[in-house]
Amino acid sequence: MRRIEITINGRKHSHEVEDRTLLIHFIREHARLTGSHIGCDTSNCGACTVLLDDEAVKSCTVLAAQADGQSVTTIEGLSGPFDGLSNVQEGFRQEHGLQCGYCTPGMLMACTALLNENPNPSDGEIRHALEGNICRCTGYEMIVNSVRWAAENAGGPK
């Protein structure tokens, strides 16, 4: 057991954890932020995607101890000018980029990271950037449309 401190969505969370504790379990079980989900055990599905110092990572493949002293942004940390939602969140709402919503938090974080890096991606670039995030409901086209909406509305409500 060791005490680690991770800043999540701007707030410091300090807990005693086992060395083997995964970052996703630190976020969900210790910090009790349950928006990030677990959908596999092989880092394929991306439901647990969060930003670790602004880079999208699958938090099931990072040990909590590895993130000691770093900053994490989860779905609960997203916000923006669309009635409190960010352009990416609002894009998913406008373009029906989600159905059951289970993959959605990870998908939103991956899309947020994509647009931070490439504010105006092509459809092909969007699909490529999301290849680590599985959605079983939408067939992806409406997710692509959602990201395009987010890119076109990055400046806030028109």
Binding site: T34, S36, D41, R136, G139
Partner: protein, 781 residues
């Protein structure tokens, strides 16, 4: 303005987009413990001993239970006599992954450690994983007392041999509809809390009332002490209407430990324990004339049930037989089926459940007829379609009466959207240019059976009934709550029923909320499955709202001193036609409905509440025409879906955005079955070899195409909405269009059929086998 038919954004989205929706694993009651199952490492074995002593000593372990602890409880509900599934394997394990023992510990890490420390000694038995192995004369038997691995056999009444002989031409096809894993992104999970007041179970489930009924009976507790809640549910696709042991075991673990107990599958556990779908083999023969008119169809299904016959799994080949002839007028149809058990995960519903299998086979056969007659596949379809003036159309099975449709129009629209002639020209040009990929064009004109269903239909699968319930409640401020018996988990049903109620009641969409998936608040319900929500609960909402409005108008008329028939309702107010100034708000009518002094004498306080159990006289029959263009890399055999046209007829569309989303998702799963997915077992050991998402390929965004939607509308005559349902259409219609396109692309190699998933290696082999005919009989065996 009518909301029905409008692109309304979903009520469900804000909580899901902000991480505020609560899925089962998000609940963490005080003092909750965690359960994990010890599972069989062998496909088939006798359990010699289970040693839990070391595991019991591990830190945080609260207890370990095996089958003899459940000796006082019956087998899981709905199986066949003598072939029922026990809550934990008893004496024998029948597939790799079957739960053998269960550990409860302080947290999931401690539980996993203890599971690893439980020692189970097995006497390994030979295993069968395929149909052919299971029915071999000397096959090892899963249930020796039964005497055979064949569990159900329904033979043909007439083998149609004389009719076949009289046909100009006949063609046979043996094909495999491979086993798929369902893979909702949220695996199975449940949380049980058995207190002095009774049991509460939070389960990721599609039919919470159904679970409550079965669970209470199994535990021998009254319904009043057994509450089931399906909170946010991360996809179901049929696998979450199945009786898995954790749903029954976890409540007892809570009782025995005196603590809330949670179980949450890992993905690997889900791949082994969550029921699989499909896994049928078909022996087909079609007789036809030289003009491509189909005269006779023989359709024999063998269903791999997996290790135990699941109640839904038992129904799959029945549904396949029902829909065997698709949207064609075939004078003579004979169907038969046999279901066998194997040492594999049990098979049950997966999006479409028996109908994708029927559609795939008839649509492959129609292309085979086109191939043999030299006619265009579109022309063969047109010549065999049931015509739009022939409904209701009685099929070969008395249970199946097609209600409506316009198959020629759907296909014409598909051909138009596909730009068929242009693609055909491109195909010819590419075929002669080795630098270009091969192009193939495939169609699927399909019909399915949905809207389950008429009285008796779901009872056959062990449900309470086949209706669906809706309850409409007006609050004193004129806002409205809908309680619905459906249990949506991504379909957007909250939005859809709110649109319907808003139109009927004249109450703003934003002043309507929807309660579902809790047996303590929703009177009764059946659940979300079989593309039934819009036709059943949508209709229930519409009719209940209409009935309530009659009484609301009486109150409004009383308040306005006007005649009821002169009133109209819109924008949260009742007004007198022709006198726009004379109006009363819904809020005042609602308030008056609770105040006896303001009510007309024939009404009592609380009258603005209506509940309805909506029945249906028939199933609904969504249909459509899908067209697919593939490009095949000549060097590698890799397939790219270049174009995918999806023309649907689901009758009345409530919300086009959500309807399109359903079709996209279904088509994605269908394309995935055609190209990528297969649950496989090692033939020697029976070990699953695709038991995680590394080995089992779920497509991600770059693996799937964009979609070209199309729509025709023939309203369903069997419900007040005219809606047919659309949840399964994409998964049913798309696989044959993809495979037909691939076979078309390879037709000059003599290819007549390739089994799914059509992996690049199969295509490469077909392109590099010296042009020997890939006969329908040879391929896929």
């Amino acid at each position: 303005m009518s909301l029905v038919g409008a692109k309304v954004l979903r009520k469900e989205d804000p909580r899901l987009l902000t991480g505020r929706a609560q899925f089962v694993d998000d609940f963490k009651p005080t003092n909750v413990a965690f359960a994990q199952f010890v599972v069989s490492e062998h496909a088939h074995a006798n359990i010699v001993s289970i040693d839990t002593r070391d595991a019991m000593k591990m830190p945080g372990v609260l207890g370990i239970w095996t089958s003899h602890d459940f000796a006082d409880y019956p087998d899981l509900p709905g199986g066949l006599p003598d072939l029922e599934r026990p809550p934990l394997a008893t004496g024998r394990v029948r597939w790799a992954g079957e739960p053998v023992a269960v550990v409860v510990a302080e947290d999931r890490y401690a539980a996993a450690d203890a599971v690893a420390a439980v020692r189970v000694e097995y006497e390994v038995l030979p295993a069968v994983t395929t149909i052919s192995e299971a029915v071999a004369p000397d096959a090892p038997l899963l249930f020796p007392h039964h005497g055979s691995n064949s569990i159900v056999t329904v033979p043909m009444v007439d083998d149609l041999e004389r009719v076949m002989e009289s046909c100009d031409m006949r063609a046979t096809l043996h094909l495999v509809n491979q086993r798929c894993a369902v893979v909702p992104i949220e695996p199975m999970g449940c949380l049980a809390d058995w207190t002095m007041e009774g049991l509460t179970v939070w389960a990721t489930f599609q039919a919470p009332h159904h679970l409550r009924n079965k669970l209470a009976a199994w535990l021998n507790v009254p319904h009043t002490q057994c509450r089931v809640i399906a909170p946010a549910v991360g996809g179901g696709f049929g696998a979450k209407i199945v009786w898995s042991p954790e749903l029954f075991v976890t409540p007892l673990l809570s009782k025995w430990t005196g603590r809330p107990v949670k179980f949450m599958q890992s993905r690997t556990e889900a791949m082994l324990q969550m029921t699989h779908g499909r896994d049928q083999e078909h022996d087909l023969e079609v007789g036809f004339d030289k003009n491509g008119k189909i005269k006779a169809l023989r359709f024999v299904v063998t269903q791999n049930l997996g290790a135990y016959p699941d109640p839904t799994g038992l129904g799959l080949p029945v549904l396949t037989g029902w829909m065997a002839a698709g949207c064609y007028k075939v004078p003579k149809v004979q169907t038969a089926f046999r279901s066998v058990v194997t040492n594999t995960t049990p098979v049950a519903a997966y999006r479409g459940a028996g109908r994708p299998e029927a559609t795939y086979s008839i649509e492959r056969l129609v292309d085979l007829v086109a191939d043999r007659t030299g006619l265009d596949p579109v022309e063969v379809r047109m010549r065999n379609f049931i015509q739009s003036n022939e409904f209701p159309y009685e099929t070969h099975n008395e249970a199946v009466i097609y209600d409506s449709g316009n198959f020629p129009e759907a296909l014409r629209e598909c051909v138009r959207l596909l730009d068929y002639d242009a693609v055909k020209a491109q195909q010819a040009a590419h075929r002669n240019d080795p630098s270009k990929p091969l192009i193939g064009i495939g169609f699927s004109t399909w019909i399915e059976i949905a809207g389950f269903g008429p009285n008796g239909s779901l009872e056959g699968f062990g449900h309470l009934a086949s209706w669906e319930s809706a309850q409409v409640r007006i609050h004193p401020d004129g806002s409205c709550t809908l309680f619905i018996g459906s249990s949506p988990h991504g379909q957007g049903t909250e939005t859809v029923v709110s649109q319907i109620a808003a139109d009927e009641l004249g109450i703003s969409f934003d002043r309507i909320n929807v309660v579902h998936s809790d047996t303590a608040t929703v009177i009764q319900g059946i659940g979300t499955m079989g593309s039934r929500s819009v036709p059943m609960v949508g209709s229930a909402t519409k009719v209940a709202s209409q009935r309530l409005l009659v009484r609301a108008k009486k109150i409004a008329a009383h308040l306005l001193e006007a005649a009821e028939e002169d009133l109209e309702v819109a924008n949260d107010a009742f007004s007198v036609k022709g006198s726009p100034g004379k109006k009363v708000g819904w809020s005042d009518v609602a308030l008056a409905s609770f105040q006896p002094l303001r009510l007309p004498p024939e009404l009592q306080a609380g009258t603005l509440e209506e509940r309805l159990f909506q029945e249906s006289p028939n199933f609904s029959y969504p249909s459509g025409a899908y067209g697919c263009v593939v490009e095949i890399d000549r060097r590698t055999g890799k397939v790219k879906v270049a174009k995918m046209v999806l023309v649907d007829d689901c009758g009345t569309v409530i919300n086009p955005l959500l309807a399109e989303g359903q079709v996209h998702g279904g088509a994605a799963q269908g394309i995935a079955q055609a190209l990528y997915e297969e649950m496989k077992y090692d033939p020697d050991t029976g070990q699953p070899i695709t038991s995680n998402l590394v080995d089992y390929l779920i497509p991600s965004a770059p693996d799937l195409p964009g979609f070209i939607p199309g729509r025709i509308n023939t309203p369903c005559p069997n419900n007040p909405l005219g809606a047919k349902g659309i949840g399964e259409s994409g998964a049913i219609g798309s696989p044959p269009s993809v495979v037909n396109a691939i076979v078309d692309a390879l037709s000059h190699f003599g290819v007549e059929h390739l089994d799914m998933p059509v992996l690049p290696e199969k295509i490469w082999a077909a392109m590099n086998s010296n042009h020997t005919t890939h006969n329908a009989n040879g391929a896929g065996r």
